[in-house]
Chain length 337, copies 2
């Protein structure tokens, strides 16, 4: 422990005094504002360096009405859901962009009512400059809360029933079509699907892509069962489908986890994957490489989603008018189809 420890952070006044100029002059130097003579600049910069001055974030925020913080709000009922690697990827993308700026990230997981109220407080109390919202359920109250604040807001994914002005979404429909077309290209005709929850847009879109591809090919859906986006859900749904359509020859699973569950059930039922039944998943998470056989799936650019959301928010904050974005998905071929 050196003796320098307990010293308070110097203030702008102190810096100005030391540099022998007024506080406003010092402020101008700090903020790279014009109308500063060379001599003044030098003096202030010297003082800043010597005193180890750092502008106090809070004071600046109060004066400028800008906090320098953006919120990433992840709304969900199940607190455990956040453990899904999907969000980690989003955050990596978000951070990568923020790292280039002076903004910081507030991460808000609002599940309980209590949490939601707390969040509302943060947003309304002008605690952040902008909001990135990932509202998973169709009718999430957070959508409205965010809107009320009047703060720049961008959505990751879209609500079920509305189209926000600013959003970034993956091309779920196109991806599902891609997957289904791939199965069709393999000569499969009895293609079933295990969908995600229909209460979320992502579930509905992926189902729709599947349906469209079949219709375009002159076929019709051979079996559809809804599941949640879990392995267990996928397994249960697969069991149902197998009972209902014993002769199915392909399945499009709306997520990798669902696919993993489905493959397990297929293996246990003695159906060879991909020979008897071809399987395609969606997301391209780590789990896709660990199924047996490895999963052919639709890759969704999750980090890019985070990055683009952040860029869009920055644009909004800067007063520009960005345009909503749909990110392309692509098929990744592995062993299961």
């Amino acid at each position: 422990m050196t003796a320098t420890a307990p010293r308070r952070q110097p203030t702008l006044d102190e810096v100005a005094a030391r540099a022998g100029v007024s506080r406003s002059a010092a402020s101008r130097v700090i903020n790279q504002a014009p109308h500063v003579s060379h001599a003044t600049r030098e003096a202030v910069e010297k003082a800043v360096k010597e005193m180890g001055y750092r502008p106090n974030r809070t004071a600046r925020a109060l004066a400028t009405r800008q906090t320098g913080i953006v919120a990433l709000v992840i709304s969900h009922d199940d607190p455990g859901l956040f453990a899904d690697p999907f969000f980690a990827q989003v955050i990596v993308g978000v951070s990568a962009v923020l790292e280039e700026t002076d903004l910081h990230l507030a991460l808000c997981l609002a599940s309980s009512e209590r949490g939601r109220a707390r969040l509302t407080g943060l947003l309304h109390a002008r605690g952040v400059d902008g909001i990135m919202l990932m509202a998973l359920d169709g009718d999430d109250p957070l959508t409205g809360i965010a809107e009320e604040t009047g703060l720049p807001t961008v959505h990751g994914g879209r609500p079920l029933d509305s189209e926000p002005k600013w959003f970034v979404d993956s091309d779920n429909l196109g991806g599902a079509r891609l997957a289904t077309e791939h199965l069709l290209g393999l000569g499969r005709t009895r293609i079933v699907t295990i969908t995600g929850p229909m209460t979320a847009r992502v579930g509905a879109s992926r189902l729709r892509g599947y349906q469209e591809a079949l219709i375009m090919a002159g076929l019709s859906p051979y079996g559809t069962v809804e599941a949640d986006f879990t392995e267990a859900g996928g397994a249960a749904a697969m069991t149902t489908l197998l009972a209902r359509r014993p002769d199915l020859d392909a399945v499009f699973a709306a997520s990798d986890k669902i696919a993993a569950g489905a493959i397990r059930v297929l293996n246990e039922a003695g159906r060879a994957v991909p020979e008897d039944v071809a399987v395609v998943g969606f997301d391209d998470l780590d789990v896709a490489e660990r199924t047996d056989p490895p999963l052919t799936t639709v890759h969704q650019p999750i980090q890019a989603l985070g990055r683009e959301m952040t860029r869009m928010l920055l644009a909004l904050i800067a007063g520009r008018e960005p345009t909503a974005l749909i990110l392309p998905t692509r098929l990744v071929r592995r062993g299961s189809a």
Copy 2:
């Protein structure tokens, strides 16, 4: 769009005016401070409700010198590392505790030098009230940076060479011992280990636990190879060990991912798990349930780690003196040992 939109948030002055009291009286009501008459309280509360008043966070922060934000700092070189489900679990734990308070979470992923500078700015500029630091590498510069700020700081895990005053850590040593003892209990005697990087305490502790258990049993380490905490690393290390000690009969892997890689290699080499070679992992992440056979592993209470770190930080901020914590680990038996 209703016509009410562009209205500015009301200020405390306006509320006070409407309630017919002074600003200080209004402030007292808002903050539940004593010395407020019943009448005053009622009047202010009525005005607050009618005007939809929310105290401005920034202004309050400036006056109280408390931001209401705590930072979770995750230091790492590889930006992708954050995708590890470990951190998601920590965050879930942290959030769960914060949800009960009025604090918010700033998530700081500092990888690049640029990012580190930006973070230093946030911390020194009094942008947060406290720091939770997960410094993964032994000599992380962030440890020093955090210390300089003088802010309450708690560590998740411990640096390689120092013992911070306040930390929460898993009982890595005890867990490793547990795992090794389990293998010994199975009658295995030619037990090798695949360690994590020795630049991190967690790697060193788990190795030490393995060694201690063997020594206690009158045996000595049968083979030790270092790997990073990845599946590929585990696979490579297993290959090396198999070449060096063809007759090994058990492996203690310092993480589940390492174990997954090792099991894959063992399967490919025609060694039956657990008959020929028993395998125990560490962490108990999702992947442990998806290996073949499912992985016997040491459970580490990750969410609890997040929770306890947060509680500890809250205590520090409140001026109390908490005590460092080591969280127990326990063996989860599945198929691999």
